[in-house]
């Protein structure tokens, strides 16, 4: 694995499967009475959030604490972060404080890449979402959720998503989740289809390893999972689509549409859901919808990423299971 996790495209198939397998071990910790591992004891991780995202920050923080890391939360929101040098200055301050890893969320595409590659800082950098570029741990937790549901937690170990058909629906243009998922799902062998109005598909999408369709109904019957993307109402005012009603008529997921999906197919959403426009309450509350599981899985996946990037010297889980042995063998040096 690379030293940083900036983009889902940085991961090989084996890296990705290793992370998913490690996350399965981490998930087991959540079932224990004491949900904590000593793995990152004495290590300091900083959550550097230039953009508000309580969900993602809490998820990372939970993962860090379950691995016994010391956690620093830095929220740059509200401080005057209009100029770029504050990213550099902040990074160097953290470096001086001896931070061992930085989890960064930033409104500007490429900010984590700059942080990792400009010589400002030595610590590993984990991208927790940058602009409209990437959100690799989101893609990993989505893949983890799919593998669990479509193959099963134990049967899934060592497996990828070869041949599975995954559909992403909504604002692809502005979605870092879509970009990360296309990269990762392709690496894992899945067949990805993007569905959106043409205005919400980026110019240049033709080189992406996926299909593009403007017609949701034709894609649904051959989908093993349908992931609904966030559509902001503001997009309507910018003429990306005429009205909310028309959007939901053509691209929203309701019970009738869900019935056209194969029985085993799941419905996913990175959250928070806008009920009504993208997804009806009926679908959101159905047992096919994995939104809550995705949240839980996010913690396991982020534990796995932190563990693997920070290269804990001990096995991830103290009482070794067969899976733990596998992890130890592959764990990279820090």
């Amino acid at each position: 694995m690379k030293r940083h996790l900036i983009s889902a495209a940085d991961l090989t198939r084996d890296d990705a499967v290793l992370i998913l397998d490690t996350a399965e071990e981490m998930a087991r910790v959540a079932d224990r009475p004491i949900k904590k591992l000593p793995t990152l004891r004495g290590r300091t991780v900083c959550n550097l959030f230039f953009e508000d995202s309580t969900r993602t920050r809490i998820s990372f923080e939970a993962a860090e604490k379950r691995l016994s890391a010391d956690v620093i939360n830095f929220a740059a929101k509200g401080s005057s972060v209009s100029k770029g040098e504050s990213l550099k200055d902040t990074a160097q301050t953290l470096e001086a404080m001896g931070v061992d890893a930085v989890v960064i969320r930033h409104g500007a595409s490429g900010a984590p890449y700059r942080l990792a590659n400009s010589g400002w800082i030595d610590a590993p950098v984990i991208n927790a979402g940058d602009g409209t570029h990437q959100h690799p741990t989101q893609a990993l937790l989505d893949a983890f959720t799919m593998r669990r549901r479509l193959i099963g937690p134990d049967a899934g170990l060592g497996q990828d998503l070869a041949g599975r058909r995954i559909t992403l629906v909504g604002d692809v243009l502005h979605s870092r989740v879509a970009r990360s998922n296309v990269d990762l799902l392709h690496t894992l062998g899945a067949e990805v289809t993007l569905v959106a109005p043409p205005t919400l598909v980026p110019v240049g999408v033709e080189t992406w390893p996926c299909e593009v369709s403007y017609d949701l109904d034709s894609v649904l019957p051959k989908s093993d999972a349908v992931m609904m993307l966030r559509v902001q109402r503001e997009r309507m005012n910018a003429a990306f689509f005429p009205t909310e009603r028309e959007y939901s008529r053509r691209y929203g997921l309701d019970g009738e549409r869900m019935a056209r999906m194969p029985e085993h197919a799941l419905v996913m959403h990175p959250g928070p859901m806008v009920r009504g426009m993208e997804i009806t309450a009926e679908v959101a509350d159905s047992d096919r919808c994995t939104v809550i599981e995705q949240v839980a899985n996010g913690v396991s996946v982020r534990m796995a990423v932190l563990y693997l990037l920070l290269g804990g010297n001990e096995p991830a889980v103290a009482h070794p299971s067969p899976a733990a042995t596998r992890t130890t063998r592959s764990a990279p040096a820090s």
Partner: protein, 428 residues
């Protein structure tokens, strides 16, 4: 004044000759000229060109002297072989009055490294609403002939029409920064395969092309002269080619960086590659080179855009747009146009001196290298190979995309009206 004999230089790339400078003018050009009491510059094997003329330079003074001043900018120009530069109007205050353009012009004359010909703003404050006093700027000591809101597009069709018509009275030209503003809201880089992947806001080619199409039609309708700044797309080339074939009085420029770099560079997220218009694709680059070769694009202009380190040492979205170019322009042109066989050195003299001086009506510049002409000359060691080291730049800013890149050719001497401003690669 003293006499200088340049010995063995290939004038415009031709056979080696001697060029005798006497005072401010060229006294003789030929073979076997006796040095007499002249000091001698041994130029065996080097290329002698007319002093280069840049129709598109940002000198930043007044207002952003931390980026560049008229002094540092003209020293950079002399280092790059330029004897005249046209200074863009987007300063603080904006060069939209006779007072500001005269100040910039005089600073150029006082420093003496390079003639500075100010460009006047088309509209007050570059706001695109009200015509600036174009006539007053023309009649001032600066004698402004080129008008541009560069940095911004004159996007209102009526204002553009009126400006084109108005400057006809004194032979002026409007230089358009072609960028449809609504199509480029939030734009960070060329819209295409790379922007889709990087998640950076797209600057579509059509935003440039649609304005050029409109402006050449306006120029035709009112019978005026229009100049298109920094063409960057294959489609723009097609439109200008069509306009010229129709007899429309349009000229166009291309920057060195658009002849060499592509949007693939943006994958580094290094803001040194952030420029407006953005770096385009390989296909665009090839079309621009061809168009410069066949004369569809008339000139090379640098769009020299200095920025201090802190405006580039940050994340992409927060970074300023632009790159410095005066000191590397000729090297890039040599690599992309001469060494590819697309242009001869005589063609380079045309694209970088004769034609820009003609478009901007620069007095005494872009003249033939022959007896009786002003001694504005540039001597180039075209055999030189070396890595670009911004530490040696005369420009106050260092935002070059070529750091560490090997580029051919080096300007060794520059003469402004017979006085050396650059000697053996060092500023005089």
């Amino acid at each position: 004044m003293s006499k200088i004999l340049i010995r063995g230089a290939k004038v415009l790339g031709g056979e080696p000759q001697e060029v005798l400078i006497d005072g401010e003018t060229i006294a003789r050009v030929g073979t076997g000229i006796d040095a007499g009491d002249a000091s001698v510059v041994e130029a065996g094997g080097k290329i002698l060109l007319p002093g280069l003329v840049d129709l598109h330079t940002h000198l930043r003074e007044p207002g952003r002297e931390d980026s560049e001043t008229v002094l540092t900018g003209t020293r950079a120009a002399a280092s790059g072989g330029y004897t005249a530069v046209f200074a863009m109007a987007n300063t603080f205050p904006v060069a939209d009055t006779a007072g500001v353009v005269e100040q910039v012009y005089r600073l150029g004359q006082e420093h003496g490294y390079c003639d500075v010909q100010p460009i006047g703003a088309v509209t007050v404050g570059l706001e695109g609403k009200k015509l600036a006093e174009l006539g007053a700027m023309h009649e001032s000591a600066a004698g402004v002939t080129v008008f541009s809101d560069d940095g911004k597009c004159v996007d209102d069709a009526v204002i553009m029409r009126r400006a084109l018509e108005y400057v006809k009275a004194f032979g002026g030209v409007v230089a358009q920064h072609a960028q449809e503003p609504r199509l480029t809201e939030g734009a960070q880089m060329n819209e295409g395969i790379v922007s889709a992947e990087l998640g950076l806001g797209g600057w579509p080619a059509v935003a440039e092309e649609s304005i050029i199409a409109r402006d050449v039609l306006l120029a035709e309708h009112v019978g005026s002269r229009v100049h298109i700044c920094h063409l960057s797309t294959a489609g723009s080339v097609e439109i200008v080619r069509w306009a010229k074939s129709r007899g429309i009085d349009v000229t166009a420029e291309v920057t060195p960086h658009h002849l060499l770099l592509t949007d693939e560079m943006v994958r580094t997220y290094n803001p040194v590659y952030k420029v407006n218009p953005p770096l385009r694709t390989e296909r665009d680059v090839m079309a621009l080179r061809e168009a410069l070769a066949d004369g569809t694009i008339d000139i090379v202009a640098t769009d020299h855009a200095p920025h201090p380190h802190e405006d580039k040492d940050c994340e992409w979205a927060a970074a300023a747009m632009g790159m410095v170019g005066l000191e590397t322009a000729l090297s890039v042109v040599q690599q992309t146009m001469v060494e590819t066989g697309l242009l001869t050195w005589a063609d380079v003299a045309d694209r970088m001196s004769f034609a820009p001086a003609r478009i901007g009506r620069a007095q005494g510049h872009g003249r033939p290298v022959s007896a009786g002409e002003p001694a504005n000359l540039t001597l180039v060691d075209s055999a030189y190979r070396g890595e670009v080291d911004p530490a040696g730049f005369a420009s106050r800013s260092r935002n070059t995309p070529y750091e560490g890149r090997e580029l051919p050719g080096r300007v060794t001497h520059t003469f402004l009206r017979g006085r050396a401003t650059l000697v053996d690669g060092k500023l005089a």
